[in-house]
């Protein structure tokens, strides 16, 4: 490794946390913290500052486990019931996708499948992998892991799609003479999965991915 490479590596490890600086998440200002303190107040906007998100790993784990548990009823319970002359038909998320596929709207089937099944399950698994990697102080490609986290952050909201679909169907096909659609318990469980996984992503601190990086060069 050449001298310039080594210097770059050195500069690369100069983090705010290491120098006792706290970065404000509201206004970006850096504030000096008291020695050994991991909390403080922003010198510009007065926001409460923390070196890292508090109890990030514990909170993310708690929310992830809740997410895994809720994922089961979300997929097994019907998200909507259709009452018609031919009786009551109950749809789960998966049967809704299958219905779209067989009725010829394969492109919508793909969209709903990605938003309602692929994104929530992939999100639970990849976030688990990220938390485990941070707990084990892994140094495996931090840039790649940060990118994965960014993708998780930006796609999570699209899982709400099915909830909105059910809401509109319920409102339109309601107290109709022939057909009525009601929302099922699965919709509530599924909504809870979306909320819990969003909260889990927010609780995770991507800076933890980079912290072992610093230790290795010290």
């Amino acid at each position: 490794m050449g001298e310039s490479d080594r210097l770059t590596k050195m500069a690369f490890t100069r983090t705010a946390g290491r120098l006792g600086l706290l970065s404000c998440h509201v206004c970006n200002r850096l504030t000096e913290s008291a020695p050994e303190a991991h909390e403080g107040r922003c010198s510009r906007c007065g926001s409460h500052l923390r070196s890292r998100k508090p109890d990030s790993i514990t909170r993310t784990w708690a929310l992830l486990i809740t997410g895994y548990l809720l994922f089961i009823p979300a997929n097994l319970l019907p998200i909507m019931h259709t009452n018609s002359l031919f009786g009551v038909q109950s749809d789960t998320i998966l049967s809704g996708v299958v219905y779209l596929w067989t009725s010829g709207s394969w492109y919508l089937a793909v969209i709903v499948f990605i938003a309602s099944i692929l994104i929530p399950s992939a999100k639970l698994v990849t976030l688990t992998v990220l938390v485990v990697s941070v707990q084990r102080c892994s140094t495996w490609d931090p840039l790649q892991r940060t990118n994965i986290y960014r993708v998780l952050e930006s796609v999570g909201r699209w899982s709400m799609l099915d909830i909105f679909v059910v809401a509109m169907l319920v409102a339109l096909v309601h107290l109709h003479t022939l057909t009525t659609i009601r929302a099922g318990a699965g919709a509530a469980a599924f909504g809870a999965v979306v909320v819990v996984t969003l909260l889990a992503t927010m609780a995770f601190d991507p800076r933890l991915i980079w912290d072992p990086q610093r230790a290795r060069h010290e």
């Binding site: 840039l143 960014r150 699209w158 799609l161 509109m168 409102a171 096909v173 927010m202 980079w210």
Partner: protein, 200 residues
């Protein structure tokens, strides 16, 4: 107060010197590639204009039906409020709250707070509680899901087409217009300008 020319990356905590950017340029973290800060065109006119337009479309989007359905001469329309109310009345209060919160309440809060911040700025004044409002906006933003809602309406639309004749209501077009406006408004909103003025 002198601003330190140093910034810490929000995603990896690396300290970096701040440099002047070319117009509309963006500074990325050299370690994790996160966007650190960007250059905004001077003045907050574009953000304000888009936010006011967004407010009007938002009111239309909430006041008028989104979709209409016709079965054997019976016409039924549904607005966003109808959707929330029906869910509530039929005993799915949890889902009703979730839909009301993410599709109605948070976008409303987001738009009105932006106007509350930007309008005084236009007259070179800064709202007193700028700090708590900006902080609140940051918290609320991830929960405002207008664009997801619109996709949901479109999926419902196609699903119903198999059953009956469906037509798009005024509110659907308003929602469609709302999305780009909200994107432009938040992309051209420069919090640094606000900080510079708020803290003197």
């Amino acid at each position: 107060m002198v601003t330190l020319p140093v910034i810490a990356c929000h995603e990896c905590d690396l300290l970096q010197r701040k440099i002047a950017l070319p117009p509309r340029g963006r500074a990325r973290c050299r370690r994790c590639r996160a966007i650190l800060y960007r250059d905004y065109p001077p003045g907050s006119d574009r953000a304000l204009a888009c936010t006011i337009a967004a407010l009007m479309l938002f009111l239309i989007a909430n006041a008028y039906p989104i979709v209409g359905l016709e079965v054997q001469g019976n016409r039924q329309t549904a607005s966003l409020y109808d959707a929330v109310r029906t869910l509530w009345v039929e005993g799915r209060e949890d889902v009703a709250l979730l839909v009301g919160f993410t599709a109605m309440l948070t976008p409303a809060i987001e738009i009105s707070l932006l106007i509350y911040l930007l309008l005084p700025l236009k007259f070179n004044r800064v709202t007193e509680n700028t700090v708590p409002i900006l902080r609140f906006l940051q918290t609320v933003r991830p929960w405002s899901m207008t664009e997801v809602f619109v996709l949901g309406v479109l999926v419902a639309f196609v699903k119903l087409e198999h059953l009956a004749r469906v037509e798009a209501g005024i509110a659907l077009w308003a929602f469609g217009g709302l999305i780009p406006l909200l994107i432009i408004a938040s992309a051209s909103f420069d919090p640094e300008e606000l900080w510079a003025k708020a803290t003197g």
